[in-house]
């Protein structure tokens, strides 16, 4: 492998133990990937701040004790606890919660920007088209690669930190032009346009693409050119959860796919999947095993709700009231929450009985771990993961259906695709 003089200095320990260990991990990963060299990276979104056990703390301390700092802007993913104010339900695993909080302090000491969000792309000042970046959170990997056109492989914990300390990544996979070409095509032409314009459809599309494409790179044809960011987020999150999609191209929508030839590099994918209404109905049913009946909780904000999603939610719920016995959780970032607070939207949601959670995720937060019964969500990602993590049954529906269900206290279904 070709290493630069600076890479060699770090590896030899000439710039201290912290950078030596970091470079050992980067070079170790590069060898496994068969990368010919390392290249510069300019931005990171760190997942290793999300506490899982003491190894996370010991790893971060290795760097803080040696005075290390991130070499590039490094933003932070969600953590298992909310950091603003007390958790709504204190007392569960106090030691783990204390260590999770301690870990966030260590990453702040390393110079990370404490945004604590799984949707960093909703914040200003992030990377742009063609930038080489380091991301681990699966929905953010897919969103940055696909919607922004920045370039990242799916980085696991520790390697994300090591790359951001050294500002170097292995030249492999999605960092390279040839690693970004579409390998399978999804044709939406048989789906009515008004349906293709819904966010619900985009959740189902992402879920189905992940199930069918696995880790291959899809090219979508037939997605409307003005598909909003929230819908693209839904595709990214669902596809990354149900399969392992790290990049998709939507022809005429995403920046690297002005046309099919750009998405594929001129070689048409051998496999073409034509989406049908039947596939969508089956996906919708598969994500809603709970069926109809009373609802104990409604979980919104996976990935973190954007400002426009909070605006829509406020409009749907203002002046109404969440039914007794139902908890409505909305998770978002502290940055977006602050903007929504200024607009008055959070007050409307809270007045209706909703609870805003920041810094964390609705399937990790201590209050949510107490959930039981039937939970409704507008997120295909949540519907896919949560039944494996929480003792609940899940029903998936549109944002409108979720609000209606929260107010009624039981699953409400709309006849139209809204």
């Amino acid at each position: 492998m070709e290493l630069s003089p600076a890479d060699r200095e770090m590896l030899a320990g000439e710039r201290g133990e912290a950078l030596q260990f970091a470079m050992e991990l980067v070079v170790g990963a590069a060898r496994i990937l068969g990368a010919p060299r390392l290249i510069d990276a300019g931005f990171a979104h760190i997942d290793a701040c999300h506490y899982f056990g003491r190894a996370h703390l010991d790893f971060a301390r290795f760097f803080t004790e040696r005075g290390a700092r991130f070499a590039i802007p490094a933003w932070t993913n969600t953590v298992p606890v909310t950091l603003i104010g007390p958790d709504p339900r204190e007392g569960e695993d106090p030691e783990g919660q204390a260590e999770a909080r301690e870990l966030t302090g260590l990453y702040a000491a390393l110079g990370a920007r404490p945004v604590w969000t799984c949707a960093p792309y909703q914040l200003p000042g992030g990377p742009g088209l063609g930038d080489q970046i380091i991301v681990g959170e699966s929905n953010a990997v897919a969103y940055y690669n696909s919607v922004i056109g920045a370039r990242t492989n799916k980085y696991g914990d520790f390697l994300d930190v090591a790359c951001a300390m050294t500002a170097r990544v292995p030249e492999a996979g999605l960092h390279c032009d040839e690693g970004r070409r579409a390998q399978i095509r999804f044709d939406l032409s048989e789906i009515p346009e008004e349906m293709r314009r819904t966010e619900l459809f985009c959740h189902l599309l992402g879920y189905l693409m992940g199930r069918i494409a696995g880790t291959r790179i899809p090219a979508i044809t037939g997605l409307p050119g003005d598909t909003p960011a929230d819908s693209l987020k839904a595709i990214a999150a669902a596809g990354a959860a149900s399969g392992g999609i790290a990049l998709f191209h939507a022809v005429g929508v995403t920046p690297e796919a002005p046309d099919m030839a750009s998405a594929t590099g001129g070689v048409d994918p051998a496999e073409i999947v034509t989406m049908t209404r039947e596939m969508l109905d089956q996906a919708r049913a598969a994500l809603s095993p709970a069926g109809e009946g009373p609802v104990s909780m409604v979980a919104l904000g996976t990935p973190h709700f954007s400002l426009t999603e909070l605006e829509r939610l406020a409009g749907l719920i203002a002046g109404r009231r969440v039914a007794d016995g139902v908890t409505l959780y909305v998770s978002t970032s502290r940055f977006v929450a602050e903007l929504a607070r200024q607009k008055g939207w959070l007050d409307q949601i809270e007045a209706a009985g909703g609870t805003i959670l920041v810094d964390t995720c609705t399937y990790f937060a201590p209050p949510v771990r107490a959930a039981k019964g039937r939970v409704m969500t507008n997120s295909a990602k949540w519907a896919y993961y949560a039944p494996g993590m929480l003792p609940i049954e899940v029903a998936f529906g549109s944002l409108e259906e979720c609000v209606e269900s929260a107010v009624r206290g039981s699953v409400a279904r709309s006849t139209s695709w809204n």
């Binding site: 990963a29 496994i32 997942d47 899982f52 056990g53 799916k154 520790f158 390697l159």
Partner: protein, 135 residues
């Protein structure tokens, strides 16, 4: 039975072989405090991987995989060695971090053979250079 693997993280180990039919999620699908597989969708749910030479197609899922591997090794509930059907950066990084932080060596080796052909009740011995002997 003798095999030569590609070393992702070097080390020596000798322990009973446990062959998994499907990839394992070390973050969420596995309890690093007991060494047991807890993924309700995994065909070998309930199996204990602690102290075994774990052979599996690869790891599944989350960015938290390396942390799950390192945490299990730290708590003495990790495998003695890991044989992979395909190169897996996340598993190797977890083993590298455990080696640096705790001095605990769990070799990680890729084997270019069908994992199903490995004898299910064998004892596997891993050498520093990636040679694997199964008896």
């Amino acid at each position: 039975m003798e095999l030569t693997g590609i070393v992702l993280h070097p080390g020596m180990a000798r322990a009973p072989l446990l062959v998994l039919d499907e990839p394992l999620s070390f973050w969420g699908g596995f309890d690093p405090g007991t060494g047991r597989i807890i993924d309700r969708h995994h065909p070998q749910r309930g199996s204990e991987i602690a102290g075994q030479v774990l052979a599996m197609p690869g790891s599944r899922g989350s960015a938290g995989t390396p942390a799950g591997v390192a945490e299990a090794i730290r708590r003495g509930c990790g495998p003695a060695a890991i044989l992979l059907g395909a190169r897996d950066v996340n598993v190797a990084i977890g083993a590298m971090v455990a080696a640096r932080l705790y001095g605990l060596i769990v070799p990680v080796v890729t084997v270019e053979t069908c994992l199903e052909s490995l004898p299910p009740d064998g004892i596997a011995e891993i050498a520093e250079d990636g040679r694997i002997t199964i008896t």
